[in-house]
Each structure stands twice: as C-alpha cells, then as structure tokens.
Symmetry: C2
Subunit: 212 residues, 2 copies
C-alpha cells in the first residue's frame, strides 16, 4: 500500500474548504495517512488564473452554491452559518498559518481549525491580526513575534510560493486534495477520496481474486 | 413519502450528463420514482447566462475535468471514451428527443440513451439527422416525419422553451437533478440524491425514533 500524505489545499474564505477541514482528522485516522495542509488564495486561482468571476457572484450558480454549503453541512453533520463579513480576508491568517507550520505543524493545524470555526461557525472576522489572537492561545507560539513576522517579506513570499506551487500542480479551487498522484476537487468528493485510500482504485467493482 | 418524479436535465454534448444518464434506470427502479428527462443547451447556460468560458477550455480546470470524466466512468463502472468530434452539436438531437417525448416518453428515453452511447462510447457524430437515424430504429417513430418536423418552428420553439424553463428554475449546468424542490448539480452528487430519495433529509445521522 502507498502511504504518502493527503495534501489538502485550503483557503479560510471558502465555506467548502471549511466543510472539508472538519473531516481531515477523521480521514487521517481512518486511512493512516498524514494530512498536509497547504494554503492557497482562492481568489487568485479563480479571478487571476482562470479569469472567472467568483462563483458566489455568478447568476444561477451563486444562489445554488449558497444553499449547497448549508446542505453539505447537514450531510457532514457539522455546524455552519453564513457570516455577515463580506470584507473578510484570509491573507494574513494564511501567512500566520505558514509561519506556525514552519516550526510546529500540529499547532498550525489547530490554529487553522480554530480560524475556520471562527469565520464559518461563530461568524467572527479573521482579517486583522487582532482577530487572530484568540486562535493562537495555548499553541506555544510567540504571538508578538508572529504579529510582526506576518507582515514581513519572508511571510509574504512564503504564501506567494504556496499559491504558485499549487497553480503549477493544477489546483484551481478549494478544497483540493492530492494523494498518490491523484487530484480531487470539492468537499463532495470526500467519498471518492476515501474509496481511493481504501482500494487504490476508482472502480467500485470487487477486484478479481487470482484462482488458487 | 413524497413520490414526484426525479427531473434530469441533460445535454448530449456533456460527458458528465452521459455518465449520469447511465444511472437513471437503476435510480428509478431503486427509488420507485419516474425520471423526467429534460433537454437543455449547456452552452447557453454557461456562455450566455453565466457569461463564462466553457469549462473544458479553462486553464487548470479544463485538464482536470478531462481526467475526471474518465475516472468517474471507472467509478460508475460504465464504458466511456473521448470522441474526436469537436464540432459535434446536440441541437437537432434534442429537438428530436422532444418530438418523441410528446408522443411516447419511453421511446424518447431509449433514443436519448442511444444518442449518448453513440457520442460517448462509440465516438460517432450526432449532429445531423443522418447521424441520428440508427438511434431511431425500432422505436415506432415515423422517421421521415421527424426529419422534417425537427427543423420546423414548433420543434425549435419547444427546445427554446425547455432551455428557458430550466434557466427560470436555476439550472446552470448538466447533469442537474430536481426532486421534492431540492436541486443537485453534478454526476458526483448521485450518492446524495440517493440518500435524499431514501431518507427525505440530507443528514446521515439516524433519525430519532419516538419512544413507545
């Protein structure tokens, strides 16, 4: 069996990435694989690379997606609520995530889960560093050092590199999963991802057993 | 239990609509519901209503979708092959479908399954009436009458009405399913659709049983 990590591309501003994020711990323990959380800026992928309008703003599709996220939260059995923060931005939070990940990956994932929860369950802003402080509590991070590092060139460059690497690998939206050279886009593909992790194949037919 | 039909919006040019079409008979018999096949022109929905480029032409997403259809055919266990007919058009075939449906819905569905198979399994064109004749055999249809009716104003108006009705209901791509006032887009949502048909809910938690 292959045993590489499940790569999970996310952006805090995506409700679908939030929904997927709630399943990553269970997915890791069921599959015995690590999950490698990688931040992207979904606005860059959609608007700059694909040159598309943001999906929530599309006629017909926008209203569908809005209902769909609510329905998927019922499907997954996780809390979810739309926030009233159209100006919420993830750039700073994603830079903080990368700074944490450099030193302590588990702390970074705990931070990410809290930030997702803050925006998509509690409806609180995540844009400024003050908004993020509560999500850093108890992680052993030097909060003052993070506050200044997050706006310095190395942190900016690290996030840009993460986005550029994702684009180079064909990532065009979130959540986006990669495992064993397979790529899957969308929280609704988690059942297919689980099937792959269990069988190493897309086929749902029982595989032929060699005759004795 | 509710028992209205499952509405299935399709266009022959979509590989994902083809993949979904292969599951409609089994879905109908498992759920005890009828399937109401409704043609749309996916190019009109995407290019004219959403003003988006066609998904297969998008950078990053286009190549993903191309691999994804192959993978979904493995997942569903159905034959599938890309054709080499970039000029293939579905307008005439969809008009013929509606003419058939007016008189004999079962014949229309048999015709639709054959047309899907012709393009997405056999790699043969479906654009002209000559291309469609083999798919009309044994359906009890007056082929000569269909040939002329398919280019006349009532057939054109019927297809336009079908597309306009779909847009009015929020359909923005294919396959698109509606049942019990719920809408689901994408062949990858068939498991959710089946869940809804079985439970009348999106939640996968067992529902509470009233105490005796």
């Amino acid at each position: 069996m292959q045993s590489g990590p499940i790569v999970f591309h996310f952006d805090f501003v995506s409700p679908f990435a939030y929904l997927a994020s709630t399943q990553m711990d269970a997915l890791a323990s069921r599959s015995g694989r690590a999950v490698d959380w990688r931040p992207v800026l979904v606005g860059v992928l959609v608007n700059q690379v694909m040159k598309m309008p943001s999906p929530p703003e599309l006629p017909l599709k926008g209203p569908y997606l809005r209902r769909d996220a609510l329905r998927l939260s019922e499907w997954l059995g996780v809390p979810f609520a739309y926030h009233d923060l159209p100006g919420a931005r993830s750039v700073l939070a994603l830079r903080v995530f990368l700074l944490l990940k450099d030193r302590d990956e588990q702390a970074a994932v705990r931070f990410a889960n809290r930030v997702f929860q803050r925006l998509w369950v509690d409806g609180l802003d995540i844009t400024g560093f003050d908004d993020l402080e509560a999500s850093l509590e108890g992680l052993g991070a030097d909060v003052a050092a993070l506050r200044s590092a997050a706006v310095e060139p190395p942190a900016r460059a690290a996030l840009k590199r993460s986005v550029d690497d994702a684009i180079a690998e064909g990532v065009f939206g979130v959540p986006f999963f990669q495992v064993d050279r397979q790529a899957l886009w969308g929280v609704d593909r988690l059942p297919m991802l689980e099937h792959w992790l269990e069988h190493g194949s897309w086929s749902r037919r029982p595989s032929a057993t060699p005759e004795q």
